[in-house]
């Protein structure tokens, strides 16, 4: 083994410039691969962080229209969710998979504050909605259990709604404790949540019970949301949805297998899509990176061909004194792998350093999308898995680069090789 490295070192030492130039191409290829994948990861992380308006294990349910006749009723009937559905969802039947349950009921209302007036939408929610919808409080508090129990006239409003109620330049937080007029009634603002680019700026959150009583909605429920547990696979999610739909459908005298009677929006699926998107992005980046690397491989292969040509006479001597073709092949391929690996690792190291620099510079920059600030890159960089994969790629690339020159060297007959100069 040591002898082999001595041989390689000798060969490289004699052709420093040439080795460095071709090695640079490999370094560059791997550098690009690592930086691309690192930046891609950063971008993906930023999407995941910025776009996660809901907990990924949350499910929303709403009423729909039946699409099949059932139990003597014809298709095309409107299904409205009611309190019974909320009770069933949170009941023993689904206790295994359902964690927290929240229901909403909402209606349009004119909202006034001072001279400003907007056409708002008041949403009756449960305290659990805060976690499910990932509402970030900027000031005050969210709707709590006592608000629900007492049907208090309080509201929590998103920053964006607050801005539409305030004069330009006023801080949204100043609204906490103030009273605003919703329809004919005065509600006290108890909290401000962070603006969400996925919602419009006319939402207000009030206790579920308050909205129900004030607007006389009886048993009717706008939508039900709940968080799930123990549903780890796509298949488990689908099973659960099917079962859930059949139970709720039957409560409303709709066919158990009617997909349209109620709609179920399970974010678990969105999560899967997100992961698929991530895979596609990363595959695309790998392909770009590998093609960049290909240039380097061709460079090394080229150098090895020249080396083989220059050393033909030497290989002739080696063959004359007993080197088998395999010994010669081994020499060329290991030289190629060594050059590729050493320069590849330099490129990988520099790539990782660049990812760190990216993190410290571009990673800190925020961009503003629809009033929502998100970082451009979050934790750019590659993991150990990519480093190992890249190492494998390098070894394969080096072998490939050395293979054809090595075969050429091994095939030259010793008598011809000895004649070469």
């Amino acid at each position: 083994m040591k002898d082999l490295f001595v041989e390689i070192w000798e060969s490289v030492r004699r052709n420093k410039m040439r080795t460095i130039l071709s090695g640079f191409a490999v370094s560059w290829g791997i550098f690009m691969l690592i930086v691309l994948l690192g930046a891609g990861n950063g971008l993906m992380n930023s999407f995941l962080q910025g776009g996660s308006g809901f907990a990924t294990n949350s499910v929303s349910v709403g009423g729909g229209w039946t699409s099949k006749p059932y139990d003597g009723l014809k298709a095309g009937r409107r299904i409205r969710l009611d309190d019974g559905d909320v009770a069933v969802t949170g009941g023993d039947l689904f206790a295994e998979n359902v964690d927290q349950v929240s229901a909403t009921v909402g209606t349009n209302a004119t909202v006034n504050y001072g001279k400003k007036s907007i056409n708002g939408y008041i949403d009756g929610v449960y305290p659990a909605a805060q976690e499910m919808e990932k509402r970030v409080l900027l000031a005050g508090r969210f709707i709590n259990d006592k608000d629900i129990a007492d049907s208090r006239k309080v509201v929590v409003i998103p920053e964006s709604t607050a801005w539409s109620l305030l004069e330009n330049g006023q801080d949204a937080k100043t609204l906490v404790g103030k009273h605003i007029k919703v329809g004919d009634l005065a509600f006290q603002v108890v909290g401000i949540t962070k603006a969400d680019r996925m919602r419009n700026s006319r939402d207000l959150y009030a206790p579920y019970t308050t909205v129900k009583t004030v607007y006389g909605m009886g048993q009717e429920v706008g939508s039900i949301s709940f968080t799930t547990k123990g549903l780890d696979t796509e298949k488990a999610n689908e099973e659960f949805e099917k079962q859930y739909k059949s139970v709720i459908n039957l409560r409303h005298r709709a066919a158990p297998d009617d997909d349209r009677a109620i709609w179920v929006w399970n974010r678990a699926h969105q999560d899967v899509e997100m992961k698929q998107g991530r895979n596609i992005l990363s595959t695309a980046l790998w392909i770009i990176g590998l093609f960049t690397l290909l240039g380097g491989i061709v460079g090394v292969s080229n150098i090895m061909l020249i080396t083989v040509k220059e050393r033909t006479h030497e290989f002739g001597i080696r063959k004359a004194i007993g080197a088998s073709p395999w010994e010669i092949t081994k020499l060329i391929i290991s030289e190629s792998v060594t050059i590729t690996a050493v320069f590849g690792y330099i490129g990988m190291f520099l790539g990782m350093v660049s990812c760190m620099i990216l993190d410290k510079t571009v990673g800190q920059a925020k961009m503003s999308i629809m009033d929502d600030e998100i970082a451009m890159l979050v934790n750019p960089g590659v993991g150990l898995d990519v480093a190992i994969e890249a190492t494998l790629v390098l070894i394969i690339a080096g072998t490939l680069a050395g293979f054809f020159p090595a075969r050429k060297a091994a095939r030259v007959r010793p008598i011809e090789a000895l004649r070469a100069e």
Binding site: R318, A320, I321, G322, S324, P325, P414, I415
Partner: protein
């Protein structure tokens, strides 16, 4: 017989077919010191290449120590060359970026001998040829005679059955040529090494005990030269 050639033919087919060896029959016994002499184009180098398993022949049979050398794979041929044949070339053919001792070690490297063992053995052979002090030098730091002695040490280290020398003095001055030929004679006498020298110089051939004349691919006269009187310059003279 150590070496037996029976009706060996060789034709080169580069454009115009060239029949180089036209039925060579030759036997060389163990311990002989033979020269193959002929003008350029006589086929002597081709014969040497076949003897050294560097080239193959078309028809006939070639035995080394009773073993038929024919249709070998490259790997097998390399192994036979390594174990049975030592080469000495006109242009020395040392590897330039390896020191004298590393050059001598190389055949043992291909036998898989351990580093320390082959180094010790190589030093022993260099010492035998009076080059122990030059072990760490590179070929370009040595004189022609020294280089050829390194090459001889490299050829001897595997204790081959045959030592093949292709114009061993071709690149040396007359004094050094004489020294090298005397060295070969000494190895033959004292260590019983079988040596075959290919040359076109009668002086070199005169140092050997048997001279095989080859002309136009056919072996002519085989001269017994134990008296070393074949040279035009008289008994025991070597040179050019």
């Amino acid at each position: 017989m150590l070496i037996e050639l029976k009706d060996v033919n060789k034709t080169y087919n580069n454009g115009q077919p060239l029949h180089v060896l036209k039925g060579i029959n030759l036997s060389i016994d163990s311990g002989e010191f033979v020269s193959i002499m002929g003008a350029s184009g006589s086929g002597k180098s081709t014969l040497l290449n076949i003897l050294g398993i560097l080239d193959n022949y078309d028809t006939g049979e070639y035995y080394i120590d009773g073993r038929l050398i024919k249709g070998l794979s490259e790997r097998q041929a390399a192994d036979y060359r390594n174990r049975m044949i030592g080469f000495i070339f006109q242009s020395f053919n040392l590897i330039g970026f390896k020191t004298a001792v590393e050059n001598v070690e190389l055949p043992l490297f291909y036998q898989g001998v351990s580093r320390s063992k082959r180094h010790a053995l190589a030093m022993q052979y260099l010492d035998k040829l009076g080059l122990a002090d030059w072990a760490g030098h590179y070929p370009n730091e040595m004189s022609g005679g020294q280089k050829q002695r390194v090459a001889i040490a490299r050829a001897l280290i595997t204790q081959p059955k045959i030592l093949l020398a292709d114009e061993p003095t071709g690149a040396l001055d007359s004094k050094t040529s004489e020294e090298v030929m005397q060295l070969l004679g000494q190895l033959n006498r004292e260590d019983k090494v079988t040596i075959i020298v290919v040359t076109h110089e009668s002086g070199v051939a005169n140092c050997t005990n048997k001279i095989v004349h080859i002309k136009d691919g056919i072996i002519g006269q085989i001269e017994d030269n134990r008296e070393h009187s074949a040279s035009a310059f008289g008994i025991n003279t070597t040179m050019k």
